[in-house]
Point group: D2
């Protein structure tokens, strides 16, 4: 029988994402609502090993719902991958009377959590926080909606200058080895072409598409390229290739980079984070462990963490088709 | 047997919403993709009666996906409620060889479309465009996501000044007789209390809640009030009531008003509009009529327009509960 | 001879304005640069009387340059208007070994500071922080540039919906009894008419102007009204008057309210605040008192506080003329 | 004696900048106000040679004041550097009865205008439009204020993720061979170090500064690098150098690129553009030529174009010092 949970620790791990602070706030307030204690663990698993803990009251998370980044910081931690490191972490949790963990992060963080749970039978629940939307068991990860808004706002600005000068821009966006950000932000920004790892367009068809677009009267073009796409070795080589083959184009590259990870979260991400935080705490209070909270078909759900880390997300085929039709 | 569709008219009607231009663009481009003609009808049903038509090519909708408002304009039209008005409209459509209509608007507009269809057996499809999210048959209407982002951004600003001065703000948001904007934006903005027509909190419990919030150490408070809420006669009387009963509070009112209807659409609204426009045109091409395109559980769906105009949306009970927990 | 200054107190008073935190940060860091101590005084003069003090290190103001509001809070304080209140304040300062004060606020706050200086010969320097830009001795007050950006962004949104519906909007903006926000944001937003207290247009000429605008082919109009303008009793009566006399217009009102006081400061306001904070501290270190830091012709300047509180700012006549020409 | 001016042409040339559309609108409306004609010349000098002209009425520039880019497009044009090219341009202007030109652009464009004026005694006036603020004879060029706001907004986002992960970011900003954007946006964004071509910090001192910052307790750092800075060969080599010498830092690079040129202009840029457009037209109407409109000490001024293209802007020494103090 599982021990009654009286104190929950919360940490953020891996790449940060907008909405993490809103999720922390929700975990803290839900603990307060159920009259249990909540402890913030700083710098992810590193802070677990170094006992970098701080009690969090309902008031301590005032005025953070709208902020980017994570107030608990995040870090990569090699030591947590060793038995010794995890042992230290477990002792620190015991000493602090922490009974369970909420881990806000991506699949790497969830894997770490699973290994930890197996070693010590320590209750853990995951909340998917990453802008990449690459986690199985949820339609949306925290930060994805904000990131695609950031990208379309930036491309709106780039389009101003592109269309003033008849230029072709390659805009590289994040997403690790999946194309969710590229596809959604590309459609949202009205990109002429979207290059994602899930679809191999091929260089020849890219040129054809650009030629067709030019012939149809478009004087400027935006091509959104997912960082994981393999059409060229990278976006700069892509530029060189197109310039060689279409000298009529003045080609520019913009690599959006880390700005995509920051910024005030969108309303959707704040609401989603609030809902997920409640579910994470209440799932632990029900005596469950090793689940990831997700949102599927607008409902807050639980997926076994093992499935979440092994499963693959799929690209929305219908949206791919919409993208093709829009660039007619 | 339904006549083959070669030319589609598109209009926007009722209150405008961000994403309408993205939907128009999608309708136009989908027509081009299927090699049929598309005609823009200006000023809603008024333009139908006055034959205010203009052919729209794929290029004519360049650079509108990111704009607010509606390039086709919108208008209220009494004449379309008469047999004579609709007769004129029908003749204009026949003269222009328009075979079907895509109506982007709310339930009032869909009602008009249904009556028109019954009178002349004229094919119509609706796309739900309103910030209020009050239409049955879709989880999200076009413009809702943008509007809640606009509201949280404004409340973030108001909170800066509220927390600098220990003030209580009543912020009135749109939503006609439903509380979707208030509930979502209220949770997203971290409001201390959210007043919506679907729930009668009562003045006494509002005071209790504010007193509890004050006692818990909060020095400033934001209360989000849906315009359809009936707790006070209006938000100004609410202010007077609270000031009388809690003289320790410096109370202010902010009525957000029409800014909620404008602005560049969010990525979500742009993508949703693009998907809905494709579905609307392709549904007409399949020979169907009297459906509304919607999004349910992340899938683009069709709902009979009759159901859409009669059905009621429901407030998300789980989110209501999350809201209560967050204000612990 | 003035005593050597080793510890400076800083407070914000009156209405808050974006850039106040950047100014606090600058005061704190400049003290650290000159190796003297800095103390934050919370809640303006109220905190002075209640000895609500906290030492501020260079690191304690990390990550506030981009935030709205004031981390030191602000408050109105009746007690500071009495000899007794000021006496308490002075004792608290002596007990805390604070040698001088930087007061960030508007003319009311500067007046309080002057009275305090006269009573106790206590060194003070003012930094003009108010969105209204109504302080003599500086071309720009802190927060003004941010506020006019906020206003044009909101009016851009309102225009989306106004032009979709052929509507006339009266948009009331802040500014107390001067029209600087209205004039600048009105020109920036492309308003058809701008009503400010410095110019009495008269109701009849307003109607004429609106009729001319309508005749010229404009289908929607934005009229920006300064809160201090006296053309109608208030903006709602103005609406009624115009609707009676121009029934062809669908008139709406939007009172922007307190959102104009919040938000992340513009780059201009952050830079200005940084410059003013340096000058304020270094002026005190030079043994001077009773000056207000300002920016005149792009140079950081000093104006005697007495002049600053008595002088009047003037409306830019050239910009008034530009406004007239733009609405041709 | 100069001929009476009855028709003015307006063009944008060189890199586009936010506020160009507001300036075009102002030129057009000022012509309408003075009851003379205005003609838009598309694609800069290229359009002059190809007679790509279109009359612009006061209504044709509705709803562009808030847009980025330039509705008249811009282009580089080799042919205008030849006698033959300029000859064609002059004939086109004569054929179209255009009596004078307003050139909105940078020093390259002004040089082209001067040569043209010398050849044909054709009246021209320049309006400085470039985000770089590198033109002598004006405190601010059109687009600079918007660009520095864009940069600080992006760095605010980058700081979210930098401070979540203890990272050092090099952020490269535009500015050609001057550091105005870097210095202003660097101070506004609270950068720990700002590298500009006007000051040679040296690699060794950069390392010292970063070490001092780290020791003082800062866990993350932003270094803003002007594109014209020569401290390293480029920003990526700078990264490599620092990583080699400070392995404790996780260093990232972000090259902001063309997004800095786009976006809706700030209120300041819209107002400035409106004022400059009036002055440009009225200066031509007074029979003057070869001047650049500028803003010096808040007043609209005229500078001989020859001076404008030869003079150099200077970096604000006081702001450099403020920057040093802020990073204490």
């Amino acid at each position: 029988m599982s021990k009654k949970i009286k104190k929950i620790g919360v940490l953020t791990s891996g790449g940060d994402a907008p909405g993490m602070n809103a999720a922390i706030r929700s975990v803290v307030r839900t603990c307060a609502y159920h009259e249990i204690e909540c402890v913030g663990i700083y710098r992810g698993f590193e802070g677990l090993i170094e006992a970098d803990f701080k009690p969090l009251s309902a008031r301590s998370v005032n005025n953070i719902i709208h902020t980017g980044g994570t107030m608990l910081k995040s870090a990569r931690c090699q030591e947590f991958r060793t038995d010794e490191g995890r042992q230290k972490a477990h002792e620190n949790l015991k000493n602090a009377n922490i009974d369970a963990l909420v881990i806000i992060g991506g699949d790497g963080s969830f894997n770490g959590g699973l290994v930890f749970n197996k070693a010590f039978n320590f209750p853990i629940i995951g909340i998917p926080g990453t802008i990449d939307n690459d986690i199985f068991g949820t339609n949306f990860t925290l930060g994805f909606d904000t990131a695609i808004n950031t990208v379309v706002e930036v491309i709106d600005k780039i389009r101003d200058t592109a269309s003033s000068h008849k230029r072709l821009f390659f805009v590289e966006v994040m997403g690790r080895d999946v194309g969710h950000i590229a596809l959604n932000a590309g459609v949202g920004a009205g990109a002429e072409e979207i290059l994602i790892p899930e679809e191999d367009l091929g260089l020849e068809r890219l040129l054809e598409s650009l030629r067709r677009s030019k012939k149809s009267g478009k004087s400027s073009s935006i091509v959104v390229v997912a960082e994981g796409d393999k059409i060229g070795k990278n976006v700069f080589e892509l530029k060189d290739y197109v310039e060689e083959n279409m000298p009529e184009y003045d080609v520019r590259v913009s690599v959006l980079g880390h700005m995509q990870r920051g910024g005030s979260p969108s309303c959707f991400d704040r609401v989603l984070a609030s809902r997920m935080g409640v579910k994470a705490v209440e799932t632990l209070l029900e005596g469950k462990t090793n689940f990831m909270v997700g949102i599927i078909d607008n409902k807050i759900t639980l997926t076994p963490l093992e499935k979440a880390v092994k499963g693959k997300t799929e690209i929305n085929k219908e949206l791919l088709r919409v993208s093709d039709i829009m660039t007619t």
